[in-house]
């Protein structure tokens, strides 16, 4: 029984791979393609990447990225192609610039400030 279950799980995962549908010439290109699919957000189901999403737009984006990778375009080029049209939100990791600088730094900044306050409070209660 567990072999049947194991086989079914393997089958399900295999279906999840998009690579067999998008054959590429070199392994480097395949890795580039895989990495890109995981970094690009599906704008319809916005918590999924386009590797997983079944939405038609995700399909279109996969095909476009596949085409660009086949043409030998670099990852920065492809990311720029997407963000020019859809904005930074289409990438799960927004670029480090301008307003997104605040997005990246603020959590650490807040954490640092809180730690400082805590240390100050601890020192004060120690010295009593």
């Amino acid at each position: 029984m567990r072999y049947i279950v194991g086989f079914l799980i393997l089958l399900y995962c295999a279906i999840g791979f998009s690579n067999s549908l998008y054959p590429l010439a070199t392994q480097k290109q395949e890795r580039q393609f895989d990495a890109l699919l995981k970094e690009v957000r599906c704008l319809v189901c916005q918590n999924q990447d386009i590797a997983d999403s079944h939405a038609p737009l995700a399909q279109d984006l996969r095909e476009k990225i596949y085409l660009l990778v086949q043409q030998g375009k670099t990852t920065p080029f492809i990311k720029s192609y997407l963000t020019t049209r859809y904005g930074d939100f289409i990438l799960f990791n927004p670029p480090f610039k301008g307003i997104t600088f605040v997005l990246w730094v603020a959590p650490f900044g807040l954490l640092g400030a809180l730690l400082l306050l805590l240390i100050r409070q601890a020192k004060r209660s120690q010295s009593r």
Binding site: Q46, L57, D60, L61, T83, R85, Y86, G87, F89, R124
Partner: protein, 182 residues
């Protein structure tokens, strides 16, 4: 004195966070602003959806959308929400507003049937059967409506069913401004 100011700082930060939280709850995060506002329309040339099959093939090109303030409506026969805004679009076009249609990833016959069923407000319709032009526009869902100025620049993008309320709130003031421009 120092202990009091520390607590005040934390309290102020907390109130700020609560204010941001409440404001964020009121927003619709899944609606994305277009990053192509104030940019020119992407270059395209699409075959038109003609309602009569005996006409010679025509094209809708980017240059056609210059010279007047117009709307570019992204729609498809398979998009049920698109039928909800069709009545309002028909009203708008009857009032003289030029509305171009981009038939997104659709079949010609199904698209024609949709127009028969729900009415045709479009001045011209381009068939974007592969969705390439829509991708250049940053379309991520139907229906969407773009506001194009006299020079062919994108001035606004509305996502979702265009209601009278939404039109009067976000499009009409901009249309009035753009009409006055040369």
């Amino acid at each position: 004195m120092r202990i009091i100011s520390g607590r005040v700082v934390v309290l102020v930060l907390f109130i700020l966070l609560i204010v941001c939280f409440i404001r964020a709850l009121k927003q619709e995060p899944s609606l994305l602003p277009s990053v192509q506002i104030d940019k020119q329309l992407p270059l395209f040339k699409l075959p038109t959806l003609d309602t009569h099959t005996d006409q010679p093939p025509h094209f809708l090109a980017t240059s056609d959308l210059q010279g007047q303030v117009a709307l570019l409506n992204i729609w498809a026969s398979w998009c049920s929400a698109c039928s909800e805004e069709q009545a309002f679009l028909n009203t708008l076009s009857q009032q003289g507003l030029i509305i171009y249609g981009l038939n997104y990833k659709d079949e010609t016959d199904a698209a024609r049937q949709f127009l028969i069923d729900w009415g045709n407000p479009y001045y011209t319709i381009g068939q974007d059967s592969k969705g390439a032009v829509a991708m250049d526009l940053g379309v991520y869902g139907t229906p969407e409506t773009f506001l194009i100025d006299k020079k062919g620049f994108i001035r606004y993008r509305y996502v979702g069913v265009l209601t009278q309320e939404a039109f009067e709130r976000v499009l009409l003031p901009r249309i009035r401004l753009l009409e006055e421009a040369s």
